[in-house]
């Protein structure tokens, strides 16, 4: 039917207008701004149906209509295409990210770039340790029973942990236990995925010389327990100032919990855990389980392993904003930035 078709066009028009004006949109304004070829009266009928079906709602009688979460969901799934970036935006991405040398720098620039492009809060996850491989392990002695272990991964991420170790006994005269330990664990772990580290530990413990057992056990335990834990993933957040755009209109009273959740990181990390490269994930309003996000939408995607979509991502990045958000534009920006970051990391 032509009815069905036109009704969806009306829904699309409502979403677009509401996103750009932030005012509830009425039938007359719709007819004026979009030439749908029908009169306001007809649009009113369509709107009544859309409201019945739960796609739009009115804040109060005799105001215009506003999309519901369900309406945004339908819009994202069926009514919008990811819109190509402008060439200015492409250039901005290159200008911003080129010249970054180390990982911290890349991620910091990325988060600023995304925040600026989308005018919302940007988040990026450090490359997941469990999917990274060991490039080098360094051991530095802090005190007799205290070592600093520094892990360098193939993604350029550097993590350090202090490990309490038992005192070394029975060391052969003139030997340097720490140096031996360093050689040993590098031989065992370098090149291995951290996810596989656990299985290597048993071997290592068997073959290690007796006087190093204690050290090896303690260091290995720390590596496996604290570094491979998903909870250890870190997050960079930027552009929180953008939350105050629209002066508390966008987040009525929910600004505080949102800021807290962003600082806490846990909630966002969980979202990021489910993300794959190439497939942009959109989570709208009430769809977010955590209550501090029920007034917000999250657009996220995985980065890294640039080729196949099926691969697991090194990490996720994304944008947090009001449900009243430019979804096509944000999705485009997020996807383009993720691609570029993936390339950058693959080069190094």
């Amino acid at each position: 039917m032509a009815h069905e078709e036109r009704r969806l066009q009306v829904l699309r028009a409502i979403v677009q207008d509401y996103v750009s004006t932030n005012d509830p949109v009425g039938s007359k304004a719709l007819a004026a701004r979009h030439d749908l070829g029908v009169s306001p009266a007809t649009i009113r009928n369509d709107m009544a149906v859309l409201e019945e079906e739960g796609y739009i709602t009115q804040p109060h009688t005799s105001a215009g209509r506003v999309p519901t979460d369900k309406g945004y969901r339908f819009f994202v799934d069926r009514l919008s295409a990811i819109k190509p970036l402008s060439s200015a935006e492409r250039r901005a991405i290159e200008r911003f990210l080129d010249g970054a040398l180390d990982l911290d720098d890349v991620l910091a620039r990325t988060v600023r770039l995304l925040a600026q492009l989308t005018r919302n809060v940007a988040v990026i996850q450090y490359p997941t340790l469990s999917r990274s491989a060991v490039r080098h392990l360094e051991v530095v002695q802090l005190a007799t029973t205290r070592l600093l272990v520094v892990l360098i991964t193939d993604t350029g991420r550097v993590e350090q942990r202090v490990v309490e170790v038992p005192p070394v006994v029975d060391a052969p005269a003139g030997s340097d236990p720490v140096a031996e330990l360093r050689t040993l664990i590098n031989a065992a772990f370098v090149g291995a995925k951290l996810a596989d580290a656990a299985v290597k530990v048993a071997d290592l413990l068997d073959t290690a010389p007796a006087h190093l057992r204690g050290l090896v056990a303690a260091v290995s335990a720390t590596l496996v327990e604290t570094l491979v834990e998903p909870g250890e993933d870190r997050l960079l957040v930027g552009g929180t100032a953008n939350l105050t755009r629209g002066g508390a209109l966008d987040f009525p009273g929910t600004l505080r919990p949102l800021l807290e959740a962003l600082e806490e990181q846990v909630v966002v990390l969980r979202l990021m855990g489910e993300v794959a490269p190439g497939a942009v994930l959109v989570s709208i309003g009430e769809e977010n389980e955590h209550h501090s996000f029920t007034g917000a939408s999250v657009v996220s995607v995985g980065y890294g392993s640039a080729g196949g979509t099926a691969d697991l991502a090194l990490g996720g990045l994304g944008v947090v904003g009001p449900t009243r958000m430019d979804y096509p534009g944000t999705m485009a920006a997020v996807r383009a930035v993720a691609r570029y970051v993936g390339q950058l990391l693959a080069e190094s």
Copy 2:
């Protein structure tokens, strides 16, 4: 004169009442809550003088009085003693910070603790590199002309930089330039303050074997230029959600630039640069040069070098909040936390 004395008591009472109630305070309420031994009429006369002198102001005719920045300044300098922490607060500090092993952990916990104690935004600066000594330098080869240099300081701070190096020529057969480089620079720099690193570079360049000159020069340059620069100091920020307490009353319209400045870090770092251990620094409203802070106050202090007040601090920590702030309490919390952090870092 007793006049002068009483007038200052009136000012103190106004600050205290206004901070706790957030309402402009009038002469009657003042007489009721504090027994100053005089009638409201007398207080009115004192208030008129105080206003004349610029310590207080009234938002509009026939409202109560509100302290000005000058009034807060006088209060902090002359009318208040840093109030001792409650034992509950002392216990909170210990409970929060004990058990932290590495530096990142200590700083992260500190910032959360301070934010919670003062119910404001907390900031802490990483130990300044230029005042730290080198504990170890690690070099890892990423590509033929690319090295990752990892610096570990005596404060437990770990920093990494990617260095582009010229290709090695004339290397003796069977030698390992990277390993030699590592030995060389560790011998040269370990134990030295980073501030002194620049003078050591010349020596090192003279004595280094010819085939390593290029590497040494590149790595030294990076160390000196990027690590010793004050701009490279990092900052941890926490509790930004506290800015929304008092629902935009505390920061009328200035919330956005404040968030931006906190994210930018530069402004806050400059403040922190001037800070010494033991001497709590308070910067009130308009006293802050940067315009995004003119509606806010900053309470900061140095931590580290636990003994003498005269020493330079390892870094600074502090609190950012509305000018309408509990200065004695905040100053006490900031000072106590800084002491504790200094102890923790001295131990390790």
